[in-house]
Every structure is written in C-alpha cells, then in structure tokens.
C-alpha cells in the first residue's frame, strides 16, 4: 500500500523538481524542511528579543518617530530597580502568584483525587468542573465584576449568609484590603480545573498493581497516599505549577477587567504596570528594560523548574 503511495507521489512530482531533489543530500533536504520554522523563530522570537534589549539602553519613545534616540546606558534599569512603586507592583504580583498557585494546587489535587474515585456520573462532574477554564478571561472578568457587586452581587450575599454581615457593608473590588484577594479568588476559580486535569492524568497513570502490592504488604491508606500517590503525581503537579507560575507572572487580561489595577495600585501587577509604561506613557526604552527584567526572572525560574522536573522523572 505504502509502495503504491510512494509511486503515486513520485509520478506526481514534476520532472524538473524531481531532478533537483535527487541531487540533494539528506542533510540538505532536512535543512529545507526546518528552514521555515527557523526563519519564523528568528523573526518572531529572537529578533524582537534582541531589539528589546537594544531599546532598553535608549530613551526611545514609540509615539515620537522623528525624535533623536539617545543611548542612556543602564539608566532605565537603575530607575526601575530603585523605584518604590515598581517594588510595590512586584509585591502585588508576588502575593497574587503565591496564593493562586497555593489554592489551585490544593483544590485542584483534591478535586482530581475525588474525581479519580470511580463513582456514577464522574464524567459529567469532570465536564462541569472544567467549564470555567474554557471561558474567555474577558468574559470571566466581566461576570465576576457583577458577582462582586455590593448591592446585587451573589458573592456578597453568600458571604453575608455565612458571616451575618450586611452584603453592602463590604466591597470586594473597591477595598484596598480585599481587592488583592478578589483577583486571587477569580483566578483560582478559573484555573483550578487546569491543575485538576493535569493531576487527574497523573493519578490515572498510576498502575493498580502498585496499590494491590501495598495492600498485600498491609500498608494503610494514608501510607499508600504518601508513598505511592504523592511521589507519582509529583512530576505532573510540578508541571502544573510551572505552567501556572509563568502564566500568572504575566497575568493581565483578567485583572484589567476586574479591577484595572485599582484601587490605587493595590492590584497593579507588573504586566499592567508594564503596559502603562509602554502604551500610556509611551516610555518605550524604559518599558523594554522592564520587560527584560521580567523575562530574565521567568527564564531563570523556568530553568530551575525544568531541572527539578527532570530529576523527579529520573527517580
């Protein structure tokens, strides 16, 4: 069957092209195949990166095309790293990053563990749980804005039902204390299913005979959980943390929809601050330096994580 296909392809190839290809080595043909990918990578990833690095040492402003571009050395980096407002933005990002990952891993793993127990209708529950992840962040941001409304929002009513406080006595998005937690809640609601799915894949990859062997050795359920389940799901869990960590470090759309960085700058994450510098204040050189700082941080973290992941896999 495959011989016939090869014959048909050979017949369909124009004689001129066939002659040209026949003269090429395997290595040259391989290069022809990967050249478009390499070209795209250079054009879309490498060139903008090098250009951003170059711009970060200048006072370039993208809205003033004819203006003379001056080399400012490391001044942009110096300004960013001595600015107390940027420091506050970084702290807001750290708060968001830490708590979202903590809750997503905790709830995601618990849900996966429960779903993995074979019960009637668990496929339906999986579908229902996974729904938030499929929505657009703009849509999620918008409807959570309604849910957080102090007068008509369902969230405030549920909290008041548990605590006995008046629903209109607190504002999730307007309060300096509560706003950072409100974005944590929404991101956790939206992305916990993703962590759950990855954990579920990990749990389903554990063969039953390992548990059966542990049962024969009279290992308790708790022992089985800590010596079989957790170590075998760990690579998957680390992968989920890596994905969510990098994604949340760059979080933009959801938070812009919910709070727009406010009140004040309590929820102004680094990516929102970066966008303001680049496209509202038009300090392109400064914003480039900011982007490079964030890039190096994410790249460094990703390197550590990939190394840790390989180690866990080798165990």
């Amino acid at each position: 069957m495959s011989d016939r296909t090869i014959d048909r392809v050979a017949q369909a190839t124009p004689v001129r092209v066939a002659r040209k290809i026949r003269g090429l080595s395997d290595r040259a043909i391989a290069w022809i195949f990967i050249a478009p990918t390499i070209f795209l990578l250079l054009a879309i990833n490498i060139f903008p990166l090098i250009w951003t690095i170059q711009l970060s040492f200048t006072n370039y402003k993208a809205n003033r095309i004819g203006r003379e571009i001056k080399d400012v050395g490391f001044r942009n980096y110096e300004r960013i790293l001595t600015d107390s407002d940027t420091w506050l933005n970084m702290q807001a990002t750290a708060h968001f990053l830490f708590w979202t990952i903590f809750f997503q891993v905790l709830i995601g793993f618990t849900l996966a563990w429960l779903i993995n127990k074979k019960f009637k209708g668990n496929d339906l529950w999986t579908t229902i749980i996974v729904l938030p992840m499929m929505l657009s962040p703009a849509v999620v941001g918008n409807f959570w804005k309604f849910l957080y409304q102090p007068q008509i929002g369902l969230f405030n009513y549920i909290i008041s039902w548990f605590t006995g406080k008046e629903p209109s006595s607190f504002e999730m998005l307007g309060s300096v204390k509560l706003a950072p937690w409100s974005i944590v809640i929404v991101d956790t609601w939206m992305w916990t299913p993703f962590v759950m799915l990855i954990c579920l894949a990990g749990l389903r990859s554990i063969p039953d005979y390992i548990y059966e062997a542990a049962e024969i050795d009279r290992a308790s359920k708790l022992r089985q959980f800590f010596t079989i389940t957790i170590p075998m799901v760990l690579p998957f869990l680390m992968l989920a943390v890596l994905f969510r960590g990098i994604e949340n470090f760059k979080m933009f759309d959801l938070v812009v929809q919910l709070t727009g960085g406010g009140p004040g700058s309590t929820t102004e994450l680094t990516s929102i601050n970066l966008k303001r510098e680049a496209f509202e204040k038009w300090r392109t050189g400064y914003a480039s330096a900011y982007a490079i700082i964030l890039f190096v941080t994410v790249f460094g973290l990703a390197s550590i994580y990939v190394k840790a992941l390989n180690k866990v896999k080798q165990r």
Partner: protein
C-alpha cells in the same frame, strides 16, 4: 561538602548548577520580598548572573 567543593574545582555540572539555582532563587526572592528596597535593587543582577551561569554550566560534563 568536600565532594561538592571538588566538583566545583573540577568544573562538574551538578555542583555548579546548584550554585546557579541558588543564585536564581535568591534573586527572585530579593525581587519579590516586601522588606528592604536595596535587596529589590540588586535582585536583577543576582538573577541575571544565576541565569547566565545556569545556561553555561548546563554544558559542563556530569560528575562521576
């Protein structure tokens, strides 16, 4: 400890990757901590050194 120092002197991947990892982790902690501004100021250079070091030392030979 002696094994670690020997690995460093003989340019082995394991110990050098460990040093780079520690530098990156310290740099990120310095970047995100809420306590002292000077730590935030020097965080980038620490992370950058760690990251570049990580890329270089990941090409070193494995220890025996």
């Amino acid at each position: 400890m002696t094994k670690f120092l020997n690995g460093l002197l003989r340019l082995r991947r394991g110990p050098w990757e460990m040093v780079a990892t520690i530098l990156i982790a310290v740099g990120v902690l310095m970047l995100m901590q809420p306590f002292v501004l000077w730590a935030f100021t020097y965080s980038f250079i620490v992370t950058l050194i760690g990251t570049v070091m990580f890329i270089i030392v990941s090409h070193f030979p494995e220890g025996e």
